[in-house]
């Protein structure tokens, strides 16, 4: 009679040790060996698109997502290639990124910092996203950028206009293509002075959050440098819908210009109220009363209807631009979706291409290698003319569009007209500019994670 030496406990122990031994190489390859978070396999790479799918900026988020899907399609060789053909760097060939097919996951920021961080974290930890991009709010962008810095992934910001994103809150792993409040002020002020004169008195209504503060600061500094005087500035709650209490005192304040540092629904409602209270027809100090909206968006302009006609503002990009890159993008986007893209869609599409391009030029997905490839990168053909990704603060520098609400729109998309393309030299600033956090602002160390 033979006796078996196998025991239940022995089998489990041996199995556990053997299993751990077999799994070890995989573990080492995924994390320690490559030395960075979420190193992709040989066939696929996953990008994380973190956009507001619910909440007040859901329409912009939807447009951002359309642009991301289009970018992925083009990177994988689908469609007509869009801006791949016009991009000055010709390393992207429609075979994915470094030969890996591009996949994506999406998250919903809800335009709330905590929700945005949670969805970004989930995409990084559960879905293995190597890069996070998106957002339609500066508060969200700053919060997610900090998370990506800690996690060791690259953050390619979407629509975020506050100075702080690449100012006092800049991070080594974060990059912004969109313009900022300072640039809006620098581009707008000379146009406003030329249109309305240098002897003007401005009254600011400012959304009571991060973006509102930096925009007011930028517009005040630029217009005051042109000779304007700021007679008052009032902060308005972000949740405000009826601005009548804030608008009514403006006419008797001694001001002859109202600057609405508002975005989204705030802008639509405050502008509507201002028009209702007769500010467009009013006279003050012997001059026509005027209204200025520093940051325009076509999606928001549609909400404001007739009220935006003749009002000056600035924008990062507009579908009516005639350069090759813009036209290629509008053609791709318009053919796929039936309407022209917004500035939010444009910046998100471009950021995805810029990331893919940087990875390809670096020959690596390692965040620090990608960051190095992006730093100081000069490019063209993506819709804004010659552009520099400045190494010191990871901010793109390019021409800025000054726009005006169109008097006689020819279609529902034809709401803004470009009045001036302000050259980049006029909107550039030193990395340690006081509005950007001064000398204390620093990118910190790049983080590869893992």
């Amino acid at each position: 009679m033979s006796k078996s030496n196998f025991t239940r406990r022995g089998v489990i122990q041996t199995g556990a040790i053997a299993g751990a031994g077999l799994a070890l190489p995989t573990y080492l390859r995924a994390e320690n060996h490559t030395g960075f978070t979420n190193a992709p396999g040989d066939s696929e790479v996953t990008l994380g698109f973190n956009v507001p799918q619910t909440g007040p900026y859901a329409d912009e988020g939807a447009d951002e997502l359309r642009a991301y899907e289009l970018a992925v399609e083009h990177l994988n060789g689908g469609g007509d290639g869009g801006m791949l053909g016009t991009f000055s760097s010709q390393v992207l060939d429609g075979t994915g990124i470094l030969g890996r097919e591009v996949k994506y996951v999406t998250g919903d920021t809800q335009t709330k910092s905590d929700a945005a961080r949670a969805s970004a974290r989930s995409m990084i930890e559960k879905d293995g996203a190597i890069m996070i991009t998106g957002g339609s709010s500066s508060g969200v962008a700053v919060a997610v950028q900090a998370l990506c810095q800690e996690a060791g992934v690259i953050f390619m910001a979407g629509l975020t206009h506050s100075n702080d994103t690449t100012g006092k809150d800049r991070k080594a792993n974060g990059f912004r293509h969109f313009f900022n409040s300072y640039m809006s002020g620098a581009a707008l002020a000379p146009v406003l002075a030329a249109q309305y004169g240098e002897d003007r008195k401005a009254y600011h209504l400012t959304a009571d959050y991060n973006w509102g503060y930096t925009t007011e600061e930028a517009i005040r500094a630029s217009t005051e440098a042109m000779g304007w005087e700021t007679v008052n500035s009032v902060k308005t709650p972000l949740t405000q819908t009826d601005f009548s209490s804030y608008i009514a005192p403006v006419l008797n304040s001694g001001a002859d210009i109202l600057v609405l540092n508002h975005y989204g629904g705030n802008m639509v409602n405050s502008l509507t109220n201002a028009v209702q209270f007769g500010l467009r027809e009013a006279q003050a100090n012997g001059k026509n009363f005027e209204i200025v909206v520093p940051l325009f968006s076509r999606l928001m302009a549609r909400g404001a209807g007739e009220n935006i006609k003749g009002i000056f503002g600035s924008t990062n990009w507009h579908w009516s631009l005639q350069d090759e890159g813009s036209q290629a993008f509008v053609r791709s986007f318009g053919t796929k979706y039936g309407f022209p893209p917004s500035q939010a869609a444009h910046t998100c599409y471009v950021q995805t291409l810029l990331y893919a391009d940087a990875v390809t030029r670096a020959g690596s997905f390692a965040p620090c290698a990608v960051a190095e490839a992006l730093e100081g990168f000069e490019f063209d053909g993506l819709g804004n003319g010659k552009t520099l990704y400045r190494a010191e603060d990871h901010q793109c520098f390019k021409d800025v569009l000054v726009v005006r609400g169109k008097e006689n729109p020819e279609s529902e998309f034809d709401l803004l007209e470009v009045v001036e393309v302000t050259p980049v030299d006029q909107v550039i600033y030193e990395p340690d500019h006081p509005q950007m956090g001064g000398a204390d602002a620093s990118l910190g160390e790049c983080n590869n994670g893992a």
């Binding site: 859901a58 819908t241 639509v268 007769g278 009013a282 999606l299 549609r302 209807g305 007739e306 318009g334």
Partner: protein, 343 residues
């Protein structure tokens, strides 16, 4: 002084909206005993009735204009409106322009229908449940309704202008001897105030001077006794729910040109309207109206730059501060009745 007059005027239209919503809330609470957190959503739905009718009236077909091109360079498809096809260019344009006032007629049957559906389909199952359950289910309903609206209309506000005749502002100051352009007040807000006053007077007259209203008031005072008299009070209360929904609806329609409708506007008004009801006194219709105007005007004053400079943030908390003071000094609110929500 001119600023004080301006803020009183501003407070009147804001107060009108609070008063109308609070009136509907109180009607529902007073009759059915339900704390209806979906009432703000009814106001929002009313606003969207204006948007919907405006879109119906602007229904169009496409005609290709070979001389112009669209953003892709294809021949431009121009919208041709059916109302202009049917009634001629000028009459068609006038009909589209008057979409908001016409939407009042459109919204009344729609909102009564929505009210009936809400009450019969969902809320009646919660009459005997605790107030907490009622709040949870109606709050959930409000979220569902606003998500449905967002699905169909998007998240951005939708501009719904008043007819041209009511655009612009009245130089109110001139009547009081001030210089021109000192006190401006938009025509439509003036219309809104008088419209609200009319609706409020109509509801009170209905309750006060009709047999139906008398029975409803009797039912509000003592539901059991009225039932014992052989009157089907439940049916009348269901009608009151529909009426309250219609009041919220027309309030929303008329508010559409003041604040561009968006899916979230009901929530913005709901919390404040509940404070209005509590300050006015639970179950008191005159209390709800008085508190609506009082808090609307106080909120306007608190938003004056001179006040905010001295007390930053006061504009966001004034209503709650006043509510605390009133509830401390008059626990049943301004005109609250004994025994309401005290069992």
């Amino acid at each position: 002084m001119d600023q004080i007059i301006v803020q009183i005027l501003n407070g009147l239209d804001k107060g009108s909206a609070y008063a109308l919503i609070a009136l509907g809330l109180t009607l529902i609470f007073g009759t059915l005993g339900v704390v209806n957190f979906a009432h703000g959503a009814l106001f929002m739905l009313g606003s969207f009735c204006a948007v919907i009718l405006s879109r119906i009236l602007s229904a169009s077909h496409k005609v290709v204009d070979p001389d112009r091109t669209d953003f892709l360079g294809n021949p431009l498809e121009v919208d041709v409106f059916y109302v202009q096809d049917w009634f001629g260019e000028a009459a068609g344009a006038a009909i589209m322009e008057w979409a908001v006032p016409l939407a009042i007629l459109f919204s009344i049957p729609v909102m009564i229908g929505v009210g009936f559906a809400m009450e019969r389909g969902l809320i009646k199952h919660f009459y005997k449940r605790p107030h907490a359950d009622q709040i949870l289910v109606t709050f959930g309903l409000a979220i569902v309704l606003q998500e449905i609206i967002k699905y169909f209309f998007g998240a951005n506000p939708i501009q719904t202008p008043a007819p041209d005749a009511f655009r612009g502002s009245l130089d109110f100051g001139v009547f009081l001897g001030y210089d021109p352009l000192t006190i401006m007040y938009p025509y439509w807000r003036l219309v809104y105030f008088f419209f609200s006053a009319l609706i409020i007077a109509g509801v009170f007259a209905f309750l006060q001077f009709t047999t139906f209203g008398m029975v409803v008031r009797a039912g509000m005072a003592d539901r059991e006794t009225v039932g014992l008299l052989g009157i089907d009070i439940d049916k009348r209360f269901t009608f009151m729910f529909g009426l309250a929904a219609a009041v919220a609806g027309v309030a929303g329609v008329m508010y559409a040109p003041i604040v561009a409708p968006n899916y979230h506007m009901g929530m913005d008004f709901l919390v404040l309207s509940f404070v209005v009801v509590v300050v006015g006194g639970m179950g008191s219709l005159p209390g709800a109206v008085a508190a609506g105007f009082l808090l609307g005007i106080l909120e306007s004053f608190a938003s004056m730059p001179t006040v905010v400079d001295v007390l930053p943030g006061i504009n966001q908390i004034i209503i709650y501060l006043v509510a605390i003071v009133i509830l401390l000094t008059r626990p049943r609110g301004l005109m609250g009745r004994k025994g309401v929500m005290e069992d």
